[in-house]
């Protein structure tokens, strides 16, 4: 009888170990979900181009900025609009040093999309402007608004090269 009990217990333990092993291996082998956010620029017809890159002074620029939250959890996003030039433009590691001319904020659930209509009247004239839209979010652990970065550590932003000529 003792021998049979030991056999049953051994079989149960083997079954449990096999089930746990299968579960762990499947978890390790499955690719982890990619947590990211997206910012995109669309023209006034909600299409990816053509964009108004050459405008006259005091004319309106109409654009739409699209934001997606795929960070896996609800996020408090800020879209900061800046009028940069070639020296103050953003790059992969540093946000634009130009002042914020417009800011929009909203909390998005995971998988939610946010479209921000942008209407700007260009008063300045010049060439090689960069109308920059940067995606920032509120970080509760730092109690601060920080630039959203992708998995490679690059900040998320889009820009429109812009030339503004006199009327």
């Amino acid at each position: 009888m003792k021998k049979y009990t030991q056999t049953i217990l051994t079989l149960l333990m083997i079954g449990l170990a096999v089930a746990t092993g299968t579960l762990l291996v499947s978890v390790w082998l499955l690719p982890p979900p990619e947590h990211t956010a997206v910012i995109a620029m669309l023209n006034e017809d909600m299409e990816a181009g053509p964009y108004p890159t050459n405008v006259t002074q005091y004319s309106n620029i109409s654009l739409n900025i699209e934001v997606y939250n795929y960070l896996g959890v609800v996020q408090y996003f800020y879209v900061r609009t800046k009028l940069a030039n070639q020296t103050t433009m953003a790059n992969a590691t540093t946000p634009s040093s130009a002042p914020i001319i417009l800011q929009s904020d909203r909390i998005l659930a995971h998988g939610e999309r946010w479209v921000i209509p942008i209407e700007l009247n260009m008063t300045a004239t010049g060439t090689n402007f960069r109308l920059t839209f940067e995606l920032w979010h509120y970080n509760p652990s730092q109690d601060d608004i920080i630039w959203v970065r992708n998995q490679r550590g690059e900040g998320l932003w889009v820009h429109l090269p812009l030339n503004v000529t006199g009327p």
Partner: protein, 168 residues
């Protein structure tokens, strides 16, 4: 008429005095109300994020908090046009909404955690009971088979003895 006009004059004097000496306050009050509302929204967002991470339903709370953000932005616009009373009213409304979202998000998070703990206890209980039932069922089956085998062997021995008796 004289009796009525005196308190009116007195009140007007007090009001003018206060107005002269605290006229800078509405701007500071409005700024304070806006800062408080932003802090309340940040706090509510943190509670909302925690509730979301536990799997609680937050769709309606998210909508309310976005409403508070819109109100706060309207308060900022009013502040920029020096409409401080409107800025204060809007900021206070935004803060009240954010506070209620914060309270509700915390409550939903707690309720979800309790529910998840109860589910975990039930699952563990079911697994333990299943293991015990399987163990006892298997031991009973094996014992039954052994008894049957023993009985069969006994029967065989008895038959063999009877055959031997008949031969002798």
């Amino acid at each position: 008429m004289v009796a009525l006009s005196s308190p009116v004059i007195a009140l007007t004097t007090v009001y003018s005095f206060r107005y002269e000496h605290v006229s800078f306050q509405p701007e500071a009050q409005a700024q304070q109300a806006i800062d408080d509302a932003q802090s309340a929204i940040n706090s509510a967002y943190t509670d909302l994020m925690l509730a979301d991470s536990t799997g609680a339903s937050i769709t309606d709370l998210l909508s309310s908090l976005n409403g508070a953000i819109t109100e706060l932005n309207q308060a900022r616009s009013a502040f920029n046009t020096t409409d401080y009373p409107s800025a204060i009213t809007l900021a206070e409304s935004a803060q009240a909404t954010a506070d209620s979202v914060s309270t509700e998000a915390s409550a939903r998070r707690s309720a979800t955690l309790v529910q998840q703990q109860a589910q975990l206890i039930i699952i563990i209980g079911v697994v333990i009971i299943t293991v015990f039932i399987t163990y006892f069922a298997l031991t009973r089956i094996i014992r039954y088979q052994r008894e049957k085998k023993r009985e069969f062997l006994r029967m065989e021995i008895r038959l063999s003895d009877e055959e031997d008796g008949e031969d002798t």
